[in-house]
């Protein structure tokens, strides 16, 4: 899923400062699962803003909504009849959702209420870790199902570097060395022959470096 973290309330209050009439918009997709942008978070954030603004003597009116997804046009359309009644939308969806809404409703300022994180998994309640950078050219079959691009701090293809100590990456005591994980897994799968091969330079053109990406499925268009 796409993960995220709430922006500090001070930052949000500063963003909404010019407005007294806004929508706070959540999303029932990934951000609900990682509990940063669902309907509950919409309610809590809206209440917090109302209280803070009331205390500051500058009341704010907030309409609370939570869309099925902010990244699909059909779920955004129902907002069209009323969106211009509000001065701004504070969205707590991921960066994709926020931007898509901004594109569809060009007259309304969009404010991000969360910092979008990464494509990750739930380790346990309250802890998420990154697994994929969406580089567009998956090599997991060669690396024991563990991604060198994401799990290695240097994204190297022939690791580990000298900074791996007892399975821990030098950048952070909490971070496991991705290459140690890969090697352990290749050993247990009896696939160490994959390690000994020189890998071609990665084509980053399928990654973000090729510019904003697009997928067209002719069978579906």
């Amino acid at each position: 899923m796409i993960t995220g973290t709430p922006k500090p309330i001070e930052e949000i209050l500063e963003m909404v400062e010019p407005y007294d009439n806004i929508i706070v918009a959540g999303c029932f997709g990934c951000v609900t699962v990682c509990r940063v942008g669902g309907d509950k978070e919409v309610q809590v954030l809206s209440s917090t803003l109302r209280l803070a603004r009331e205390a500051a003597g500058k009341k704010i009116e907030i309409r609370e909504v939570c869309l099925e997804r902010q990244c699909d046009p059909e779920y955004l359309e129902p907002m069209r009849p009323y969106i211009e009644d509000y001065q701004a939308v504070l969205s707590i969806a991921c960066g994709a959702g926020i931007q898509f809404m901004a594109e569809k409703f060009t007259k309304t300022p969009l404010l991000p209420g969360i910092n979008t994180g990464f494509l990750g998994v739930t380790e346990r309640q309250g802890e998420w870790t990154e697994r994929c950078q969406g580089c567009g050219d998956c090599v997991l079959h060669l690396t024991g199902g563990i991604c060198p691009v994401t799990r290695c701090a240097k994204s190297i293809f022939h690791g580990p570097c000298g900074g791996s100590v007892q399975g821990i990456c030098e950048v952070d005591k909490e971070v496991k060395c991705g290459w140690q994980l890969i090697i352990d897994r290749l050993v247990s799968l009896e696939q160490m022959e994959n390690y000994g091969k020189l890998k071609p330079y990665k084509g980053w053109d399928t990654s973000r470096d090729g510019g904003p990406r697009r997928i067209i499925r002719e069978d579906m268009v």
């Binding site: 701090a153 240097k154 994204s155 190297i156 293809f157 022939h158 690791g159 580990p160 570097c161 000298g162 900074g163 791996s164 100590v165 007892q166 399975g167 030098e170 950048v171 060395c177 140690q180 090697i183 160490m192 390690y195 000994g196 020189l198 890998k199 330079y201 990665k202 980053w204």
Partner: protein, 309 residues
């Protein structure tokens, strides 16, 4: 000859080679490099010039190489893939070769987290092993990685670094082998203190015949004090200083610890010299270049041989 550098000639002639390193200054003062180079001169076959080591910003290694070369020592250019994508790497390689640099050490580079600018974006477009492959392709085939023909191929004696002590230990030899397969002509190791572990590493390397496919220069760093030893042991990833090694220095009174450190470094070089498959020594006297002559001379490695082109 692959590049015809002095270092290559010395090694190919079968001499026990000596290299050292100069860290460029944290500023634009050329005299700082020239002063260090003066201390290195005559003691080595080539001198490494480091490339923003530990991600701390310094004068560029290509510029540092030029200054070292000016002062009469053959430079060895260190190049990390942390800060340059493949376009910049190729371009800097061509430039360095055009300016007469003939030795190259291909490195990943310490993570930027440890330096001045932990918020910097890192590059790692290709990794250090792929850099070796890239340089070899350019040198031997006269083409860019893209396949286009070069207007003059760069000439480098290609080196890499290995850390025989990094984890997981069992991968160190296979990874070393990968570097040789990518095209490494020589290798400089991380500084060695745990001689037993290094011997085990060398045994494994010899079993694979790696010492016959590349020239291995063992790295040593003289310790200035017991404090330095403890600090390195604790803070530098992949450096292991055995307790008994530290104890020998710590047992000395403070004012004699530096002399002990030098004595132990000389002992180490003498032990390394006798090891099968070791072609030279890389003396990393960190900010202690003035002791190079004493160490290298003390190990019986002076004067340095002159090998005709």
């Amino acid at each position: 000859m692959k590049a015809g550098s002095n270092l290559e000639r010395v090694l190919e002639a079968g001499h026990f080679a000596v290299t050292a390193e100069c860290g460029p200054p944290r500023g634009a003062d050329a005299d700082k490099v020239l002063k260090k180079a003066e201390l290195v001169k005559g003691n080595v076959d080539a001198c490494n010039v480091t490339d923003n080591q530990t991600s701390v910003v310094r004068m560029s290694s290509v510029a540092g190489c030029m200054l070292v070369q000016q002062s009469g020592t053959e430079p060895l250019l260190q190049m990390v893939v942390r800060d340059r994508n493949r376009i910049a790497l190729q371009s800097d390689l061509l430039g360095a070769s055009a300016l007469g640099v003939r030795n190259l050490l291909c490195l990943s580079g310490d993570h930027q987290k440890f330096g001045d600018d932990p918020q910097a974006k890192n590059v790692f477009d290709i990794d250090s092993i792929q850099l070796i492959h890239m340089v070899k392709t350019m040198r031997d085939e006269g083409v860019f990685p893209s396949g286009d023909k070069l207007d003059g191929a760069p000439k480098f004696y290609i080196g890499c670094a290995i850390n025989p002590f990094a984890d997981p230990f069992e991968i160190r030899v296979p990874r070393f082998k990968l570097k040789i397969e990518a095209g490494a002509d020589f290798v400089q190791t991380q500084c060695i203190y745990n001689m037993d572990k290094f011997k085990r590493f060398m045994e494994d390397a010899r079993k694979e015949g790696l010492h016959e496919r590349t020239k291995i220069l063992a790295g040593v760093t003289p310790l200035k004090s017991a404090g330095m030893a403890k600090f390195m042991n604790r803070m530098v990833a992949g450096i292991e200083i055995p307790e008994e090694f530290i104890k020998r220095i710590a047992d000395e009174p403070k004012e004699k610890q530096a002399a002990k450190g030098i004595e132990m470094c000389i002992e180490q070089i003498q032990e390394i010299k006798e090891m099968e498959g070791i072609a030279g020594v890389h003396v990393m006297a960190i900010e202690w270049e003035e002791k190079l002559n004493e160490i290298i001379g003390g190990a019986g490695l002076l004067p340095r041989p002159m090998v005709e082109q």
